[in-house]
């Protein structure tokens, strides 16, 4: 009886720890999923005189990828973003976050520019509205302008192929 209860307590702890170790405390569930994408009107990175608003994308599924030239994980995920944009189930728009044009433009020239275009959020104010806290972050936004998925941290090929692409296809098909 005693042995059984000690073993069951031990097994319980092992299960709790196993679950706990698999959780990623950096991934804070976003309250924005299921809500309309916050409104913004920002200049384009390449053309400061032109601007883009999230409203311009109503009617189509699109992906918003937050990046910056000062962010090493952005460089890590760059091939994945490039691949995602190339196989393109949906246009990938870049949100260049708290960056400087003289850093961001050479970064794209060096590493390739997978984005349909990037918007320029120098102050990071729009980033705050999107709940950005760990660049890079990626959002899938549906035809009605509602955020359907958010990924925090660098995109992996598994997430891109396993989550983003199927979701975009499903949203575009329906």
């Amino acid at each position: 009886m005693r042995v059984v209860s000690i073993i069951s307590i031990f097994a319980g702890l092992v299960i709790l720890l196993a679950i706990g170790l698999r959780l990623n405390p950096r991934e804070v569930p976003s309250p924005l999923v299921g809500k309309p994408a916050p409104a913004f009107e920002l200049p384009l990175l390449h053309a400061p005189d032109k601007s883009f608003s999230q409203k311009d994308m109503l009617g189509q599924v699109w992906i918003l990828n937050v990046w910056a030239s000062w962010c090493p994980p952005c460089l890590v995920e760059h091939p994945v973003v490039t691949e995602l944009a190339r196989t393109g189930p949906a246009p990938v728009v870049g949100l260049n976050y708290k960056d400087a044009r003289e850093d961001a433009l050479p970064w794209l020239a060096r590493n390739g520019d997978p984005y349909a275009f990037s918007v320029f959020d120098a102050s990071g104010r729009i980033g705050i509205d999107y709940g950005v806290y760990g660049v890079p972050e990626t959002y899938v936004i549906d035809r009605r302008g509602v955020i359907r998925y958010k990924h925090i941290g660098p995109l992996t090929p598994e997430v891109a192929r396993g989550r983003l692409q199927p979701l975009v296809k499903e949203l575009s098909g329906g």
């Binding site: 405390p25 950096r26 804070v28 569930p29 976003s30 309250p31 924005l32 708290k98 102050s123 990071g124 104010r125 705050i128 509205d129 999107y130 709940g131 950005v132 806290y133 760990g134």
Partner: protein
Amino acid sequence: MARFSVLLSMISFFTMMVLFGTAAAAEDPALDKRVTGLAHELRCLVCQNQTLADSNAPLAVDLRREIRSQLAAGASEQDVIDFMVARYGDFVLYRPPFKATTVFLWMGPFLFLIAGTWLLLRRVKRQQRPEPQLSEADRRRAAKLLE
């Protein structure tokens, strides 16, 4: 002498600049206090075990500025908290609200306390067994052994 007066005017100039600078920073001590008070209640998302007040991560600096400008524009403490929760979720709060997803968080310690008390009581009770009663035969045997 001329050199001395130049030096003196430079010193007074810099003193004035310093005084003016501090005055500008502490323009509104009441607002500063409210900003700091709120920043102590909110979690920095980048360095998760620090409050916004303690962290110097760029995002924490931005969010403190955001808190300040919202309070200065007349927002209440609750407005700012709602603003943060809408963007970052309950996780930003150092005092999470009591709701379905946080029931175990709030009640867990009390459950453990109750379970622990129950186990302790059970153990104590078990140790308080009545003293074994000796039969007349046992008593005689014991007396014989002690002789």
